[in-house]
């Protein structure tokens, strides 16, 4: 971002410097932070996150791409490591030798999409793994053990759409199940009757967006509930009367964008909140100011800023959670 861009952004329409003092995005620091966590193996955090290493890779790599630094990683090494997480069933595990699950299968497909390499997959095999997890009522199990959750509906639908294989499942039934999880507040829960939660709402709205079914969403009702997630500090919470957290800059914002109600929140205040959660010394972004950083919140912070049109960042697609150019490359050709 040039100095000029920054000023135009900060000055806004009214011409007064609104949030100049809060500092700006420490893009280089965050790039460094992401590149070093990949190598770090000797602390508790790395040991405790071994089971979701492939999710971590997706968060880190997508952040790098949004920051314009994807070239800094060794593409071949990443891809071969991702492929070694694949299970004989066709699904992916969170790490080498771990059991497969939709949670990790989507991340693997997303990483390959970032590098424009989905063609190296045995697509019929992967999509069969996913489609056999659909249940009679349209819902999805996360793996063969049968836990059901609308998160898994999103994972399956997003994965299959990226592989151009949505015809492998009963989309109508899948949509029907998601609708059956709609609540009094217009939001969605994990299963019918479960409370609305912003993360869950992203999954359901995202799945409905990808399947062209947003007309089932009560956009004004849900939009109002979502915009009321913004608290005084400018941050967003995930449910009423809870603390704000940077990760909701993704879950809430992307949902608001998909239903075109994002102007109902104060974007400047949210930008300020996210920027305040940066670790200016060592890079990375945390859930709230002065908390410990991690790659999950770094991704959600940077992706959130991209959704807020922060200058210098690549645009991210609110439904597929991948850069817009990656999605356009896949679908507009």
């Amino acid at each position: 971002m040039t100095k000029n861009d920054m000023f135009t952004y900060l000055l806004g329409v009214d011409g007064d410097i609104k949030f100049y003092r809060m500092g700006q995005l420490a893009a280089e620091k965050h790039t460094k932070y992401i590149l070093q966590i990949e190598k770090k193996k000797d602390d508790i955090e790395s040991a405790l996150t071994e089971h979701l290493r492939i999710n971590g890779a997706y968060w880190g790599l997508t952040t790098l791409d949004i920051l314009g630094n994807l070239k800094a990683v060794e593409q071949e090494a990443v891809i071969s490591w991702v492929m070694s997480c694949q299970h004989e069933s066709g699904g992916f595990g969170g790490n080498i030798g771990h059991d497969p699950h939709l949670l990790y299968t989507l991340s693997a497909i997303q990483i390959l999409s970032l590098f424009n390499k989905t063609q190296i997959l045995n697509i019929p095999k992967v999509s069969t793994y996913i489609s056999t997890l659909q249940n009679k009522d349209g819902s999805f199990s996360g793996d063969k053990w049968g836990e059901i959750d609308t998160r898994f509906s999103y994972l399956a639908i997003c994965s299959l759409s990226l592989l151009k294989s949505l015809d492998k499942i009963n989309v109508e039934k899948a949509v029907e199940y998601i609708i059956s999880c709609k609540n009094l507040d217009g939001g969605f829960g994990c299963t019918p009757g479960a409370e609305s939660h912003s993360g869950q709402i992203f999954c359901c709205v995202g799945a409905l967006a990808i399947t062209g079914c947003l007309h089932y969403v009560d956009k004004d009702l849900l939009g109002w509930w979502l915009c009321e997630r913004q608290v005084k500090s400018g941050g967003l919470n995930g449910r009423p009367e809870k603390l704000p957290d940077v990760c909701y800059s993704w879950w809430v914002l992307s949902s608001l964008i998909m239903i075109d109600r994002v102007d109902w929140i104060d974007k400047e205040k949210l930008v300020k909140f996210i920027l305040e959660c940066q670790d200016f010394e060592n890079g990375g972004i945390s859930d709230r100011p002065d908390d410990a950083v991690d790659v999950f919140h770094t991704y959600f912070g940077v992706a959130g800023l991209s959704l807020l049109e922060y200058p210098g960042l690549k645009a991210i697609d609110p439904a597929y959670a991948l850069p817009v150019d990656v999605i356009n490359r896949l679908f507009l050709k």
Binding site: D185, E195, I327
Partner: protein, 688 residues
């Protein structure tokens, strides 16, 4: 990581961390070895339990326990099989491991799910599970995993909805700031209502008590959000029309429409419903005409989804040229043949049959002169004069308002609803005398509008001024959500303006010159410079042919697709930020003149209409492989023209103004020329 303070690690910390990491990694390696070699010994299970206690999120480790469980049950000896305590001890051990894991992290998806899996095998006591739940629900009253597990146990053990409802009452009495409990209450009451349980059906029985219950909460702390959302749900339960209703149509009931003769006379019939419906086809809604009038095969929804549903539906009728006779009047009758077949998205049928009729005649005036050049149509004040109220077209939409008036007997509003809403209005007016509460004001505005909707006589809205004032106050009181209040304000304003013919006429202007009347019609509805950020009330505007919405703050024109007669549209000086925002134009096949100049098309990196517009990303439109060839190029910028290609490509525009948008450059203009070969005027310049 959540809620852990940021601090730089000392060498001592780092050392300790490295030691712990090594220990965890060693446990993980041993566990994975056991897992891959199907080793389910007591030691192996203990090692796994140790690992799960440290990291309850390790899904593979829970899977291993399930495999071990199945292995140990199926490999029981005959003696063990006969001993029911043996199975029970295996189950108890699993429940113990889960409980330990939950003590470490009560938000662990894997742990809660493992418990569900084990409990589903049977042999568990309801009491034990409820005791566990009480522990975790006390510790964190909002833990949604625990609430989910509670609903699961209630279902598994057949605990009655009434009993669970009592639990939510107790939780709320304990602390009313418990959104999870309010939520569960709405779920349970919905069940009880559906099952028509005595004391909960019909709903007016429980609504009064619920209003009072939630009032106690919101009056105690008006700034706590928990109860307010529940109150909104109660309001919805009170006023909700339980079935789809056809609220308006073009042509209106009983009207006489007069159409100019061209090659053939084609005109749309539009049906507008109070909500999105499906199931309209030539069997459910019939059109009776004389035999020489031909009809489209069937009704089409005016919406982008591929599932055949929409709030507005259209069907075209045409009178062939050889049949045209200016002295003849054609009678058209529309009837819901099978109103049960038309349903809301949730499947509720339109149970009230309806029908209406209108007459069509043709006229020879206003015949377009093929040879004559097409003069530029402008929307400046000089183009218009005050309206002559004796105009034929005014008579037409007058009759349209009279029709809406005759619909007064709202089938669903009843005395109890009105009384309930009136009493709520009084309560919240009182609240606002002592509390400056934003959601209180918003609730009052919603209550007043609900009251008006039920009272609506089609002539005026009683509370519009008061509601507009409330929204203006809210914009000042809660600037973070300014745009939400602004949108609501715009919708109420439009409702007020379109509530009766007298107020609508103030915005109707007559074209001075008659040479373009076959395109514009004689009247233009000018809703320009009203600071509107959103548009609505389309059911009152189905007659509009020429519409000026310029100099507002619109970033979306959703709903405009219902105005099927629209031929001239001015959207200049608004906030339309992308071509996708123009999606509704796809359905406006009569559109000839369009002004979208001075908007923000191309100025934003985020497209908020991306998923509300048909596109290959949402599988609502297939990619047209001719596009690349057509656009003649392969650079990255080309992709920006795709939406313009897919939306404008289907239109027959003769005049377009698009200057003053970031997207417009030389290359784009060339692209437009190619895309719209019939264009006569572009940005005020005549094309040759």
């Amino acid at each position: 990581m959540h809620g852990r303070p940021r601090k730089s690690a000392t060498p001592v910390d780092e050392n300790a961390s490295a030691l712990k990491a090594a220990k965890i990694r060693s446990l993980q390696t041993q566990f994975l070895q056991n897992h891959h070699n199907n080793i389910y010994t007591k030691e192996a299970l203990e090692l796994n339990a140790k690992l799960l206690e440290i990291n309850p999120e390790f899904m593979t480790a829970w899977n291993y326990r399930k495999l071990a469980f199945e292995h140990n049950i199926s490999s029981q000896s005959e003696v063990e099989k006969a001993d029911s305590d043996h199975v029970k001890s295996i189950i108890d051990e699993e429940l113990r491991v889960v409980e330990n894991a939950l003590r470490k992290n009560f938000k662990s998806y894997g742990a809660w799910d493992h418990r569900k899996w084990v409990v589903s095998k049977g042999n568990s006591s309801t009491e034990r599970e409820l005791k566990l739940l009480n522990l975790f629900q006390k510790q964190d009253t909002r833990n949604f995993h625990a609430w989910n597990y509670r609903r699961f146990i209630a279902g598994l053990k057949n605990i009655s909805d009434e009993k669970e409802l009592q639990f939510t009452t107790d939780m709320i009495n304990d602390n009313f700031s418990n959104y999870s409990a309010w939520h569960n209450r709405s779920v349970l009451l919905t069940h009880l209502l559906e099952k028509k349980v005595e004391g909960y059906f019909p709903k007016e029985i429980f609504l009064t008590e619920e209003y009072e219950f939630v009032r106690n909460a919101v009056f105690t702390d008006p700034d706590d959000q928990s109860g307010w959302f529940y109150h909104l749900w109660l309001l919805d339960q009170t006023v909700k029309v339980d079935m789809p209703i056809m609220v308006s149509s073009w042509p209106p009931c009983g009207s006489d429409i007069n159409l100019p003769i061209a090659n053939k006379v084609t005109f749309p019939i539009v049906l507008y419903f109070n909500e999105t419906v499906k199931g309209l086809n030539s069997h459910t809604v019939t059109v009776e005409t004389e035999s020489d009038v031909s009809k489209d095969i069937t009704w089409s929804p005016l919406s982008t989804n591929k599932f055949g549903c929409g709030q507005a539906w259209v069907r075209h009728l045409s009178i062939p040229h050889e049949e045209l006779n200016s002295s003849k009047t054609y009678e058209v009758k529309i009837r819901s043949e099978d109103s049960q077949g038309i349903t809301s998205l949730s499947g509720v049928p339109c149970s009230q049959p309806w029908s209406f009729a209108f007459r069509v005649s043709v006229c020879h005036d206003l015949q377009p002169d093929e040879g004559k050049s097409f003069g530029r149509i402008t929307f400046t004040d000089e183009s218009f004069c005050t309206i002559d109220t004796s105009l034929k077209s005014i008579q037409l939409f007058k009759s349209y308002f009279e029709v809406t008036k005759s619909d007064d007997e709202h089938p669903t509003s009843s005395k109890w609803k009105l009384e309930m809403i009136a009493s709520e209005i009084a309560q919240y007016q009182e609240l606002l005398t002592w509390a400056e509460c934003k959601i209180g004001k918003l609730t009052l505005a919603r209550l007043l509008m609900a009251h008006d909707a039920m009272m609506s006589t089609g002539t005026s809205i009683t509370h519009a001024e008061e509601v507009l004032e409330l929204y203006s106050e809210l914009m000042k009181l809660d600037p973070s959500h300014y745009q939400y209040y602004k949108n609501e304000h715009s919708l109420v304003l439009l409702k007020q303006m379109t509530s009766c013919i007298e107020s609508l006429l103030k915005y109707c202007w007559q074209y001075k010159e008659s040479n373009s009347l076959n395109i514009t019609g004689s009247i233009c509805l000018r809703l320009n410079s009203l600071s509107l950020s959103r548009i609505g009330s389309f059911e009152r505007l189905l007659w509009v042919q020429s519409l000026d919405l310029s100099h507002n703050q619109l970033h979306s024109i959703e709903g405009l697709e219902a105005l099927q007669l629209l031929s001239c549209l001015n959207l200049s000086h608004n906030k339309l930020a992308s071509f996708t925002a123009l999606e509704p134009l796809r359905f406006l096949k009569s559109l000839k003149v369009l002004n979208v100049s001075h908007n923000e098309i191309g100025a934003h990196t985020v497209d908020t209409r991306r998923y509300l517009c048909s596109s290959p990303m949402s599988h609502t439109l297939s990619y047209d492989p001719n596009f690349e060839e057509f656009a003649n190029g392969d650079d990255a910028k080309l992709v920006n023209f795709w939406e313009a290609y897919s939306i404008f490509g289907g239109l027959n525009l003769m005049q377009l103004d698009i200057v003053g948008n970031v997207v417009v450059d030389e290359r784009f203009v060339l692209f437009l020329f190619k895309l719209l070969p019939q264009l006569k005027w572009l940005d005020g310049e005549e094309l040759h």
